[in-house]
């Protein structure tokens, strides 16, 4: 065989190979691909792992019931390691390589902001189940969420602190690297001032920091009645331990970033009589929730689902419900159907998306009592404000 002939043969073989590969890709079209990006490792690992369990449950249930639009669902999940850059990579890969029709994720707002940017640019609808920073859905008509947003969450904690705990002087310690934490700091401090309280000091840290003694010494000096820490659980655990070491005994207040079994593991007794706002409590007696918890426990060795798992389950089901209503997986129509979600019976409550693609739901406040997080109060969204 001459060199030229050989070259042509190789080229032909490559073309044929490509054609086969493309055909294989098309052959897989009898499934609907859904992408999920989550922090399955890293400092926020339980967020991603819980979300993964919730989403898988919803997809498996739908597949067992015969799939959606006559097709089986295929879930593709990538790890973000809790890093914004990895979230962007994961979403790009899901859209460009895996050709998913819709995206689910993330929990941390900074990561949802990064992923949402790419979803929006590519016109693929995305539902975040637990990112509460308002910017996540602002100006992005392809990005939706099934949880409340931080202006309300900050208000809920502020209301509970000033009304129930009678705390008037509150200090804030927030993570300057997380959009979630920076946003909540503003929302909370605004709400406290409106409710007649004062903020003694606003101190910052960077996620992954181990030493908080300088900030806590300053906080201690202001003698606050409570300390608000809108961070993620690994850092909060470290902070709680050091708060108690410095002899500060006032309650710590937090938000849904605290929701992980790891927090209790890290901080233990330091959390006694501390409070945080969350999306749900396992003590809620509603039958659909209790049925979900029972099923979740059966699947995961008796583990009680945390809020991220429950929200992820709801988020996936909202997407599937919209797919059925739209009767197509074409992105624009699907996005329109998601936006029209009204009175959807989720396990975390009834979900109705407003014109800003956000859900309006009450928040529950949990208290650490006898080594367990117990239901303390429920705060409804104020009628006039979102």
């Amino acid at each position: 065989m001459s060199a030229a002939v050989r070259r042509i043969t190789v080229a032909a073989a490559m073309v044929a190979g490509l054609a086969v590969a493309t055909m294989a890709a098309h052959a897989a079209d009898d499934t609907i691909k859904i992408g999920h990006y989550a922090s399955k490792t890293g400092p926020e690992a339980t967020f991603g792992q819980s979300s993964d369990k919730g989403v898988k449950m919803a997809i498996d249930e739908a597949n067992n019931a015969g799939g959606v639009l006559g097709k089986k669902l295929e879930l593709i999940t990538y790890d973000t390691q809790g890093k914004s850059a990895e979230a962007s990579n994961a979403v790009t890969r899901l859209i460009n390589n895996d050709h998913v029709v819709a995206l689910l994720g993330e929990v941390a707002s900074s990561l949802s902001l990064a992923g949402g940017e790419i979803a929006q640019a590519n016109g693929i609808p995305m539902i975040t189940h637990a990112s509460t920073n308002p910017k996540v859905t602002q100006g992005r008509d392809m990005v939706f969420r099934v949880c409340f947003i931080d202006p309300f969450q900050g208000y809920a904690v502020a209301k509970f602190a000033t009304d129930n705990l009678k705390a008037k002087k509150i200090a804030i310690l927030y993570d300057q690297g997380q959009a979630y934490s920076v946003g909540l700091r503003k929302d909370f401090s605004k709400a406290v001032k409106q409710l007649g309280g004062t903020i003694t000091t606003e101190q910052s840290y960077t996620g992954g920091d181990q030493d908080f003694s300088a900030q806590l010494t300053t906080i201690r000096e202001g003698q606050p009645d409570a300390i608000f820490i809108p961070g993620y659980y690994t850092d909060v655990g470290n902070i709680a331990l050091q708060v108690r070491k410095l002899g500060i005994t006032v309650p710590l207040l937090g938000t849904d970033g605290w929701d992980s079994a790891k927090l209790k593991e890290i901080a233990g007794d330091a959390l006694k009589d501390c409070y945080y706002s969350n999306h749900y409590t396992p003590e809620d007696p509603r039958p659909e929730l209790q049925a979900f918890i029972k099923k979740f426990k059966e699947l995961h060795n008796g583990e009680t689902p945390d809020a991220m798992a429950v929200l992820a389950y709801d988020g996936a089901n909202v997407l599937l419900d919209a797919m059925k209503r739209a009767n197509t997986t074409e992105p624009k129509a699907l996005a329109k159907a998601i936006g029209e979600t009204k009175g959807f019976k989720g396990v975390t409550g009834t979900i109705t998306l407003d014109e800003n693609r956000n859900a309006k739901k009450p928040a529950v406040i949990l208290q650490m009592k006898d080594g367990e997080w117990r239901y303390a109060a429920s705060i409804a969204p104020p009628a006039d404000e979102k």
Partner: protein, 320 residues
């Protein structure tokens, strides 16, 4: 007033940790003339091994002071062995190579350690062996000392709190530094180390086993990093995953401490470490915690501009 005293106390405790790590950088630089980037990884291993060993000791009923002494010794032995292996396999073959090659090798070693440590129950293909790394999630150091204050000193309208762990850090750091000072300036080994650092070729001609001396220097530096790792997790019981940026950042800050004190100078490393501790804590307490890392690196820039040899560094000073 309370704030000032409390800030000073935490500065000293944080500063001694930086000093312990900085000693390793400075000793290796003194003898081998390269920056051992794998040092922060050894520190990380020291931290993680401490947690595992402490948990194992507690499970076998060893508690309190014996548990502390035992775990720190075991951790130092493990890390020292690793340090010896690293020096033997990665750095010794490059003894006559250009310095840049060694530097790049050090970065490679750091990456290797981090990534092997991050493995989680990985099965080696074709064998029955599984690697149990530390994984990619934060870990937890069990409590060896009861979480109680050592002193609560009333001062004015409040109290100053000194933690047992802080006292332990300070005490142990001082002990280790005295031992190191003694070895370097009062033993034959120390004389050999100083000679090898001053001029390796001439030292070899004088009958000093330069290779062995360098290995020992390296091992001592590594054991100090292991001790620092142990003290670090005693103070901050929740441990970041091996690949977390925190380790690298801590290593960098300790490296800044070594440079500020005068790289290659042992006393300089201690002073530099304390200085960085004070700067970071006071800056965070009185200016803004927003820029706590900025203060440290601003000091580095300042020192490099004004006195590039560092506080104690000069060409005439004996190096180790």
């Amino acid at each position: 007033m309370i704030k000032l005293v409390q800030t000073l106390l935490s500065s000293i405790s944080v500063g001694s940790l930086y000093a312990l790590i900085a000693l390793g950088y400075t000793m290796v630089y003194g003898t081998l003339k390269f920056i051992n980037f794998a040092h922060a990884s050894i520190f990380m291993l020291g931290a993680w091994f401490s947690a595992i060993i402490a948990a194992a000791l507690l499970a076998n009923g060893v508690t309190g002071i014996p548990a502390i002494v035992l775990s720190i010794l075991i951790v130092m032995v493990i890390c020292t062995t690793l340090g010896f292996v690293i020096e033997r396999l990665a750095y010794r073959p490059l003894r006559d190579a250009p310095r840049l090659n060694v530097l790049i090798t050090a970065i490679g070693v750091a990456l290797l350690i981090e990534n092997v440590a991050a493995l989680n129950d990985v099965k080696i293909p074709g064998t029955q062996t599984t690697i149990h790394g530390f994984g990619t999630q934060p870990g937890k150091m069990p409590e060896l000392l009861a979480n109680a204050d050592l002193f609560s000193i009333p001062l004015g309208s409040g109290t100053v709190v000194v933690d047992k762990v802080d006292a332990l850090i300070l005490g142990l750091s001082i002990c280790l530094m005295i031992v190191l000072e003694f070895i370097i300036y009062n033993t034959r080994l120390g004389a050999a180390m100083r000679a090898a650092s001053h001029d390796a070729r001439t030292a070899a001609l004088m009958g000093i086993p330069v290779d062995r001396t360098i290995s020992i220097t390296f091992i001592i530096g590594t054991s100090l990093a292991a001790a620092a790792g142990f003290l670090y997790v005693m103070k901050y019981p929740s441990i970041n995953p091996p690949v977390a940026v925190t380790w690298g950042l801590l290593g960098l800050k300790a490296f800044v401490a070594a440079v500020v004190g005068g790289i290659g100078n042992v006393r300089g490393a201690v002073v530099g470490g304390l200085l960085i501790g004070i700067l970071e804590q006071a800056g965070a307490a009185y200016l803004s915690p927003h820029f706590r890392d900025v203060y440290v690196f601003a000091l580095l820039i300042f020192v490099l501009l004004v006195r590039p040899t560092g506080i104690f560094g000069s060409t005439a000073v004996e190096k180790v």
